[in-house]
Amino acid sequence: MKSLRQYMINKKRYTLGYLLGFILILIFLGFKVNFSFINLYEGFPDMLNLFRRMFDPNLSYGKEVFEKLMDTIEIALVSSSLGTILAIPFSLLISINIAPSKSISKILTAIFSFFRTIPSLIWAAILVSVFGIGKFSGIVALTIIAFLMSLKLFREYIESIRENQLNSVRSVGSNSVQVLRYCVLPHMMELSISVFFIVLETGIRSATILGLVGAGGIGQIMWRDLNHLRYDNLSTLILILFITILIIDLVSLFLRSILQRSSIKFKSIKSYRRFQTLKIICTPIALLGLLILLFNSLSISYDRFQRGIKQGEVIVKRMANIDISYYPKLIEGIGESFYIAIFATIIGSIFALVLSYLSAYNTAPNKPISIISKVITNTFRTFPPIITAIIFFRGIGPGPLAGAMALSIYTTGVLTKMYSEVLESAKGNIQNSIIVTGATNFQSYSHGLLPYTFPTFISLALYRLESNIRNSTILGIIGAGGIGTILSMNITWRNWEQVGLLLLGTSLMIIIIDKISDYLRKLFS
C-alpha cells in the first residue's frame, strides 16, 4: 500500500522527468533551426515594416481579384465534388472491416497513403508539365488531393463502425450489398456533406499555392503581386480569401443544420415505399449526371488528353528510374524540413494551448477576451505560411528559422481553432463538478477540462505535425530552409530522376512519421 505522500512524490518525479525530457528536445530543436531570441528581437522592426505595408489594402483592385476568385471557386467546387464522389466507392473497397478482399484493401491503402504524402504543389507542378497550364491541371491536381483526403476521412469513419453493428445486420441474413445499403451508406450520405466542405476549404486554400506553378485561379495573381512586391494588393487578396472561407464555413454550418432537422412526413407506408424506390433509382442517376457535368466542365479534348498521358508516361518512367547518387541532397533537405516541422508543431501547440483557453467561450475569463483571441487566431490561420515566411525572412534572414517561425504561427492558428472547438463541445458538468468544490474558473479548466480533452489535443497536434511536414516542403522555394528549394528547382529543370528520389524520400519520411504518430495517438487515448 502506497502512502499518499509517496504517491505525490512519485507524481512530482514523473512530472519533472517529463519536463526535463521535453526541455531537452526543445533545446535540441532550437539548435537545429538556429533559434535565436536576439535575432528575432532585432528583426522585429523590419518585420513590422513589411507588415505595415500590407496594412494598406488596395480595394480598387477588388474587381480583378473577384474574377479570379470565381475561377478558383469553380476549380475548388468541381474538384471537391469529383474527389468526394470518387472516394465513396473506393472507401468501401479499402476499409478493412467491410472490404471484399483483405489483400486488395491492404495494397490499395498502401498505394493511396503513398500518394497522400505528395504535397499538392508537387502534384500541380507535375500535372502542369503533363497537360500544360490552366484550369485543367489545377482541377486534376485538386481532385487528386480531394479524393485522397476524403478517402482517408471516409475510411476512418467506416472502420469506426462497430463490428457488432455490422454483425447484427449480417445475422438477419443480408448479403454484403445489403450490409452496405442498410448499415454503411445511410451514415455516409450525411458524412459526405461535411467531408465535402472540409475538402472545399482545403481546396480553396491550396488553389492559392497552385498558382505558383501556373495552375490557374487566384494563386496566379497572388504570385504576380508577390513577385512585384505589391503587398497592398496582396493584403487585399488575403482579405478576400479570408471572407470567402468565412462564407464557406457559414454555408456549411447552415446546410448541415438544415439536413439534421429536416424530415419528410409520409401519409402512408405506401407513399414511403414509393419514395424509397424513387430515391434508389434517382440517386445514382443524379450522381452520374453530376459526374458527367463535372467532366464536361474540364473542357479538354480527348486528343489533347491522350497526348498528355503520353508525355506523363515519359515523366513517370523517368521518375521511377530514380537517381540514387543524389541522396546527400535529399538527406540534407528532408532533415531540415523534419526539424522545421517538429519545432513548429511543438511551439504552435504550446501557444495553441494558451490561446484556446482564452478563446473558447466556456473557458475564457470574459467575452471580449474570447472574441479578441478568436480574431487573432483566425488571422494567423488566414495568412498563407509562405507569406508569413517572407515576413520572417525579412526580419531574421535566410535559413530554417524563418520557415519554422512561419509554420509555428500557422500551426497556432489552426490548432487553436480546432482545440477551442473541442473545449466548447465538452459537457458543462465536467467544469461545474469542479467549480462546486469552490475552485476558480481557471482551476476548473486545469483540473477538469484539460485532463479530459488532452488526449484529443495530442491527437490534433500530431495531425498538424503530418501536415506541417508537407507544408515545410514549400517553404524552401523562397529560401526558408527545407527540401523545397531543390525540389522545385529540379521540377523546373525537368530532372525527373532526381525529382523521383526527392519525392520518394519525402514520402518515406512522412509515412514513418504517420506510423509513429499513430502509435503515440493510441498511447495517449
Binding site: F22, V213, I478
Partner: protein, 290 residues
C-alpha cells in the same frame, strides 16, 4: 496548471539560453537566386562562399532560393548583404531599398547580356509578327524578364496590342511554353535562347518542328546586388573579391562549372535602366505603397 505554466516558462527560458549562446560573429550573407533561363541548375553556392571567405577574410555564408522575393526583402532589411539576383529583382530591390548593382555576369559568349526568342511551329505558316494577330501566345509568367517583359514590349513595339490583338496566357515555365507550342495549344511562345536545346532530351522533335520568328532586345545578365546601406569600402571589397575570384584559374573554373558564368564585369544602375523602361512599356506597376 502550475505545471503547464512552469513548463511554458522553462521552455521559453531554455530557448532564450539557446538563443543567447549563439555568438555573433561578423558574417557576410550571400543570397543566390538562379535565373530560370540560366544555363545550369545551381544547387550549392558553398564553394563560391568559401573562396570569397578566403579572399575577404570575413566569413561568407551562402544560400540558394528558387524565388527572389525573400532575397529582395532580406536586402531591404540588411539580413542579406549581397545577392546574385535576376535583373528584374535588382530593379525591385533598388526601388525598395536603394540596393546597388556592382557587377554583372558574363555568359559563355563573352557577353553581359542575353535575349529571348519567339518561336512558332513550322507548319503554322506564321512568318512575321504581323501575322500573329488573332493567334494564341504563351508568356512564361508575369515576373519573368525574358519570358514576359521583354517579349511583351517587343510585340508592343511591333504594333501589336497584347490585350486586344492576341489571346495570351502564362505557362509558368519556359519548358512548359515549349510544350504548349509543340502540343498545339498555342501558336507562338517566347522563351530564352535556346529552350529547345536545353530540353532536347524530353522534346527531341522541338528543333525540327519549330522555327524562330524573331528576337527581343538584349537583356542585362544576372546582377550582383549589395544592400543599400552598405558602406562604400565593403562594397568595393566585395566587388574586387568577386572579380579576383573569377579571374583566378581555380575560381574561374568553378564559376564556369557551377554557374556557367565566364567572369564578371562592372555594372551600374544605368545598365539596368532598360528593364525599368521595358516594365513601363508593359505597364507593370512597380510603384510601392510607400
Amino acid at each position: 496548471m502550475k505545471k503547464v505554466i512552469a513548463l511554458l516558462l522553462i521552455g521559453v527560458l531554455t530557448i532564450s539560453i539557446v538563443g543567447c549562446t549563439k555568438d555573433k560573429d561578423e558574417v557576410i550573407t550571400m543570397g543566390f537566386v538562379p535565373m530560370k533561363d540560366g544555363d545550369k541548375l545551381v544547387e550549392s553556392v558553398e564553394p563560391l562562399a568559401e573562396m570569397l571567405t578566403k579572399e575577404l577574410g570575413v566569413k561568407v555564408e551562402g544560400f540558394t532560393a528558387a524565388n527572389y522575393v525573400g532575397v529582395v526583402e532580406g536586402l531591404g532589411s540588411g539580413k542579406v548583404d549581397f545577392g546574385l539576383i535576376p535583373p528584374f529583382a535588382y530593379v525591385l530591390a533598388n526601388q525598395e531599398s536603394d540596393a546597388e548593382v556592382i557587377l554583372t555576369a558574363i555568359n559563355n559568349k563573352g557577353e553581359a547580356k542575353y535575349r529571348s526568342q519567339f518561336i512558332v511551329r513550322k507548319d503554322s505558316g506564321i512568318k512575321s509578327f504581323e501575322e500573329i494577330k488573332g493567334k494564341k501566345l504563351a508568356f512564361v509568367d508575369p515576373s519573368s524578364t525574358s519570358g514576359y517583359l521583354f517579349p511583351g514590349a517587343h510585340l508592343i513595339n511591333e504594333g501589336i496590342d497584347i490585350e486586344k490583338d492576341i489571346e495570351y496566357m502564362y505557362s509558368g515555365g519556359h519548358d512548359k511554353s515549349l510544350q504548349l507550342l509543340l502540343n498545339g495549344d498555342v501558336d507562338v511562345v517566347s522563351t530564352f535562347v535556346d529552350v529547345r536545346d536545353r530540353y532536347k532530351e524530353e522534346f527531341p522533335t522541338a528543333m525540327e518542328e519549330t522555327e524562330i520568328l524573331g528576337y527581343t532586345e538584349y537583356i542585362p545578365n544576372i546582377s550582383v546586388t549589395t544592400r543599400g546601406d552598405m558602406d562604400k569600402e565593403l562594397q568595393e571589397k566585395i566587388q574586387a573579391a568577386l572579380l579576383k575570384v573569377s579571374k583566378s584559374e581555380e575560381g574561374g573554373k568553378l564559376l564556369q562549372e557551377l554557374f556557367n558564368m565566364y567572369g564578371f564585369e562592372k555594372a551600374t544602375d544605368a545598365d539596368y535602366e532598360i528593364i525599368r523602361a521595358t516594365a513601363k512599356t508593359m505597364n507593370v506597376d512597380l510603384k510601392e505603397a510607400e
